[in-house]
């Protein structure tokens, strides 16, 4: 597999590998993905817009250059932006692969950071010298203005040109709460959404703060994905409840949608509306309660995204898909090609999961 290195969300030659519920593999033009949807399907996408979460600046105690990549937040509330968790990098930028970046200066609680117009204090270390909790100075409006003006989208060395926000916002982007783009959503444009509607396919969104995908540090990377807050609108919870009750397929656009919906279903027993924080990993041991089909990027074996796909397909089927992706030169990474995987339907799942028990509440909870 080769890395996609041009920031085009919907290249005309993008491809789609399809794994059906029987484990059969086919190949298609990704622009035709709507043809793999059926009347009655409910497609759920993540409408998080991407924050300009890379902040260049200075570690005040040492005067040394530092890059802070915002990586987490306890909630998605608009006025809850004083505190972020962040990963520190030494001098330099995305042109250097993360694993080759110089270490940042030693960081201690109480250290001040000057990040363009933003000022922040390190409040604590989060179990690793490069993972810290930051408290920004100023009002929430001042913090939003500082992020909007000074921040850059997080990016990696495979993409050599600097990304702009318009490169990484999906067409459905709403609240700017993702730390990296929910890039499976790049497949969507307004034409595709209209085509879905014409086909009798329902569409709904959640907002999920997609986190960073790599830090260049093996110990930190082993902790990914970090906890990710999400919001499920009432209208989406209702649509999912109805689809479950009718046993219609639920199609997730991206791993973040799977993580949020399966988190709420596993903690609440149904898809409730409201706010939550996804803390779980999804892998071959996970039993999916909500999502039937995933549309995702092309992920290399060994990554957490690839592990999540194991919840949708058995090891041998996924192995065949991986071999086919490699043989045909599918492109990886956020601007690459895509896969569409439908999980096998098992009688046990139909019978035991509360697919007919639906309802919603709008209270808040945290896991």
């Amino acid at each position: 597999m080769i890395a996609a290195t041009v920031p085009v969300q919907r290249p005309s030659d993008a491809r789609l590998l399809v794994v059906d519920a029987l484990g059969r593999i086919t190949h298609a033009r990704r622009a035709d993905f709507v043809e793999f949807l059926r009347r009655g399907d409910l497609v759920v996408a993540n409408d998080a817009a991407t924050l300009p979460a890379s902040l260049q600046g200075r570690h005040v105690p040492t005067g040394r250059e530092i890059e802070m990549r915002l990586a987490g937040r306890r909630s998605l509330a608009a006025d809850d932006v004083e505190e972020f968790s962040a990963v520190a990098f030494g001098a330099g930028d995305f042109h250097t692969p993360t694993e080759h970046r110089p270490l940042p200066p030693p960081i201690a609680p109480g250290d001040r950071l000057a990040l363009g117009p933003l000022r922040a204090t390190v409040t604590r270390l989060l179990g690793h010298p490069r993972l810290v909790s930051l408290h920004f100075d100023g009002s929430s409006d001042e913090i939003w203005a500082g992020l909007a003006r000074h921040g850059r989208p997080i990016q990696y060395a495979h993409m050599t040109t600097p990304l702009a926000l318009w490169d990484v916002w999906t067409v459905i982007a709403g609240p700017p709460v993702a730390f990296e783009p929910p890039s499976a959503g790049f497949v969507l444009d307004w034409h595709a959404l209209a085509a879905m509607r014409a086909r009798g396919v329902e569409f709904a969104t959640i907002t999920h703060a997609a986190g960073i995908s790599s830090t260049g540090d093996a110990e930190l990377d082993a902790r990914l994905p970090l906890d990710e807050p999400y919001d499920i609108p009432s209208s989406t919870a209702v649509a999912i409840g109805r689809a479950l009750a009718d046993q219609r397929r639920i199609v997730a656009i991206g791993t973040t949608v799977v993580r949020a919906l399966e988190h709420v279903a596993s903690t609440r027993g149904y898809v409730a509306s409201g706010s939550g924080v996804a803390t779980q990993r999804i892998d071959e041991t996970s039993r999916l309660r909500v999502v039937d089909v995933i549309l995702s990027g092309v992920h290399e074996p060994g990554t957490t995204h690839h592990q999540l796909l194991r919840a949708f397909a058995a090891a041998d089927v996924l192995g065949q898909a991986d071999a086919s992706l490699a043989a045909r030169g599918y492109r990886t990474h956020e601007f690459g090609d895509s896969v569409l995987i439908e999980r096998p339907v098992l009688n046990e799942q139909i019978l035991s999961i509360p697919r007919t028990s639906v309802g919603f509440q709008s209270d808040r909870w945290c896991a």
Partner: protein, 255 residues
């Protein structure tokens, strides 16, 4: 002037998330003030840092954003702040306008740069900002809250007034673009309004017609009130947003 609002109207604007461009003078300022008075959550955009700070200070609870809608590189920073500070968006009011050359000139005497600047502010800027905010607006529509884009128009968009060529052409383009947006996004339930507020006593009008008698002009507060009523009328009726408002309710059937 005292506006007596109906109870329904008051409730309907309460909590509405609205962004207004050109929000520190004239019609935009009047819109910000009345929306805030009626309980809406308002973010406004204008170029001057000092004026933005002053208006935000005078209208606590509103969110002032410094930015130039005619500048391509300002659009996403503006969108980040609008969506970050409001958490979403129900209504976008593209109000910021450029008159073109002042004093007004015959089209044939107009510098190309004056036309380009007016098109950037009055057509391309609203196009870019609408596009950047469309995800949030459609989400609001799906949640049953409704979504409205109001593009401020002018009678110059439909009539050929000599010396108003730059402004006219740009407003005609914006008006037609509103109509196309509206046709194409009807399926997403986003409503597009293009409304001529009338000749108002505003800085833009004074620039165009310096010797006009202000007493013959509409007060921007009156126009703002009419526009807000038009927006509220274009939103779904209040009783249809129970789902979007997130009030607890049981749906579906128990197992």
């Amino acid at each position: 002037m005292d506006f007596t609002k109906s109870k329904v109207g008051m409730n309907r604007a309460q909590g509405l998330r609205v962004a207004v461009t050109g929000g520190t003078s004239g019609l935009g300022l009047a819109l910000v003030r009345e929306l805030r008075a009626r309980g809406a959550r308002v973010a406004f955009v204008a170029r001057g840092r000092e004026r933005v700070g002053r208006v935000a200070g005078e209208a606590p609870g509103t969110h002032g954003i410094v930015g130039d809608v005619s500048a391509k590189t300002d659009i996403y920073p503006i969108a980040v702040q609008i969506l970050g500070e409001l958490g979403g968006l129900d209504v976008l009011i593209n109000n910021a306008s450029d008159l073109g050359p002042a004093p007004l000139r015959l089209l044939a005497d107009t510098d190309c740069e004056d036309l380009e600047r007016a098109l950037d502010t009055n057509v391309v800027g609203p196009f870019r900002l609408t596009k950047a905010l469309l995800g949030a607006l459609t989400a609001s529509a799906r949640e049953g809250r409704g979504a409205v884009v109001l593009n401020i128009s002018s009678d110059a968009a439909v009539n050929a007034y000599p010396t108003w060529g730059v402004y006219s052409a740009s407003k005609a383009a914006l008006r037609h673009m509103s109509a196309i947006w509206g046709e194409e996004l009807a399926g997403e339930a986003v409503r597009f309004l293009s409304i001529d507020p009338g000749d108002m006593d505003t800085p833009l009008h004074a620039l165009a017609v310096p010797d006009a008698d202000p007493s013959t002009l509409k007060r921007p507060e009156v126009a703002a009130h009419e526009l807000i009523e038009a927006i509220l009328a274009a939103l779904p009726p209040a009783d249809s947003i129970a789902v979007g408002a997130g009030s607890p309710a049981a749906v579906g059937e128990p197992s």
